[in-house]
């Protein structure tokens, strides 16, 4: 039989994921709406990742500030530290770190959950129980990921900035009010909006890839592990690709 090259396999996989995403786009607005399950997923997905997102956000804000300080002092612009940290967090670090943590926590969870449901025939059982499993399992999870990641990213930004405030105050002394004013004054609409919009796409990517991997899981416990693992790896890479595209697009549209 014809042996496929790795490149062919890769392209086939990309095609399959795109088809899966297309199916989601065609299905999500059509009844029957699984509203209760969607709310439940929002709660699980949002609530479960909150502590981790908060902790990593806090540490990133604190460390970033401490790392930047010496150079800022060298250039004599120490007073601008809050401004530069604010921009870094809101435009890039907050959304991307949150998305990566989200991919690790939620992408793997969805991949493993749907994967084990697939191999133990639970998805088939749903289908014969008057339920469209794609709507009940996939649409609800992807929508919940799309809705929750932006919320988490905003919370993470806030916690990161608080970490940065503490970082500034380890070696200097700035009132919270002054810190906050410096951050806000230097953040334009153009900084905030594109960063916010791209988190929706990050959520979409994590949700779709996690569901795709779980839904197409191979038989056996090994297959389930593989699904969870590749869901995280692929969605992390895709997050960076989206990030790269987003910066090009905002540049092109003059949002910078």
């Amino acid at each position: 039989m014809h042996q496929s090259t790795p490149l062919q396999l890769f392209l086939a996989e990309v095609g399959q994921i795109a088809r899966f995403a297309g199916k989601f786009l065609l299905q999500w607005f059509k009844p029957r709406y699984e509203f209760a399950e969607f709310i439940r997923q929002c709660f699980i997905i949002g609530y479960q990742s909150l502590p981790l997102v908060g902790l990593t956000g806090f540490i990133m804000g604190l460390v970033l500030t401490l790392q930047l300080r010496p150079s800022m002092v060298d250039y004599g612009v120490e007073s601008q530290l809050p401004a530069i940290v604010g921009i870094a967090i809101v435009r890039e670090i907050g959304p991307v770190i949150t998305a990566l943590i989200f991919a690790g926590k939620i992408g793997s969870r969805i991949g493993a959950e749907l994967g084990s449901m697939k191999v133990t025939e639970q998805i088939d059982a749903m289908e014969v129980s008057g339920t469209n499993p794609f709507k009940y399992l996939v649409v609800t999870r992807v929508l919940a990921a799309i809705c929750m990641l932006p919320v988490l990213a905003i919370l993470s930004d806030a916690i990161s900035l608080y970490g940065a405030y503490l970082g500034v105050n380890i070696k200097g002394s700035t009132s919270f009010r002054l810190f906050w004013m410096l951050v806000v004054d230097n953040l334009a609409f153009n900084d905030v909006l594109p960063a916010f919009i791209k988190t929706f796409f990050f959520g979409f990517a994590v949700g779709v890839i996690g569901c795709y991997k779980g839904y197409n899981s191979k038989k056996g416990t090994e297959g389930v592990g593989q699904s969870a693992n590749s869901a995280v790896v692929i969605s992390s890479v895709v997050i960076f690709i989206i990030d790269l595209l987003a910066v090009q697009i905002t540049d092109f549209l003059g949002f910078n």
């Binding site: 025939e121 014969v128 008057g130 339920t131």
Partner: protein, 248 residues
């Protein structure tokens, strides 16, 4: 006497690539009758019943359930048929993330068969009592033994009061005592609700006790058919190999 046919499978073909699993398979199921499909592992028994319930699409052929063809149905009509045809999965397929109660409620609510909480509770209790496991109602599937899981899965199938039940290897993986209990349950249920059943099995004990009629699935087709007693006397080596162990 003219019997009422509840399901007819005619000239069914199903392949996966070059693997021709079902080749011109034919079967009739009458009201109140238990038919056992006997076949070796990998002969396509699970594929056959997954075609019946619409989980797999056959390549060719027709499956008629309650005088309507499965192949021509849309999602809504198919769901109506599925509410009347119970399916006991080989792997039980209990929802891991739900309690026993929620597992049983799921098909009821999804098929809109019971809406009020009182009606749902009553039907859940009745199904659990039918399988003798009323005390497990708040447990999670992981806390149950293999035999108990099978019985809960059976309760989840029964709760819809189906007219036809499809059993995929109901006794495989259970010890013979537990297996016998499951078979007794299946026979009781058939008597109590006058259901028809298609039972997939290679457990000769199950075939002997539960079958009104036996069909041997071999190389994708209906190789031999008859009552258990008929086939016991069949001299064909392909048929004999199943029954030899039963005679011993």
């Amino acid at each position: 006497m003219q019997q009422e046919s509840v399901m007819t499978i005619a000239h069914l073909y199903k392949s996966f690539g070059n693997n021709h699993v079902l080749i011109d398979f034919n079967l009739n199921l009458f009201k109140g009758e238990n038919v056992v499909v006997l076949g070796r592992s990998g002969s396509g028994k699970s594929v056959l019943i997954k075609c019946i319930i619409g989980l797999l699409k056959p390549d060719k052929g027709d499956i008629v359930v309650f005088n309507e063809s499965i192949g021509k149905m849309g999602e809504v009509e198919l769901d109506k048929v599925r509410a009347r045809v119970g399916f006991l999965f080989q792997s039980n397929a209990l929802y891991d993330s739900m309690t026993v109660r929620q597992n049983l409620e799921f098909p009821l609510r999804r098929h809109w068969l019971a809406v009020t909480q009182d009606a749902v509770n009553k039907m859940v209790m009745e199904a659990l009592e039918d399988v003798g496991l009323a005390h497990t109602i708040e447990m999670m599937p992981v806390e149950l033994s293999g035999g108990m899981r099978k019985r809960i899965a059976l309760a989840r199938t029964l709760i819809l009061k189906p007219d036809i039940i499809l059993y995929d290897e109901p006794t495989t993986g259970l010890d013979s005592i537990t297996g016998n209990e499951i078979i007794s349950l299946m026979i009781d249920i058939q008597k109590k609700y006058n259901t028809s059943a298609l039972i997939i099995s290679h457990d000769m004990n199950c075939v002997r006790r539960a079958s009104d009629r036996v069909v041997v699935l071999y190389e994708g087709t209906c190789y031999a058919a008859g009552t258990y007693a008929d086939l016991l006397l069949n001299e064909d080596p392909k048929v004999k190999q199943f029954f030899e162990q039963a005679i011993k």
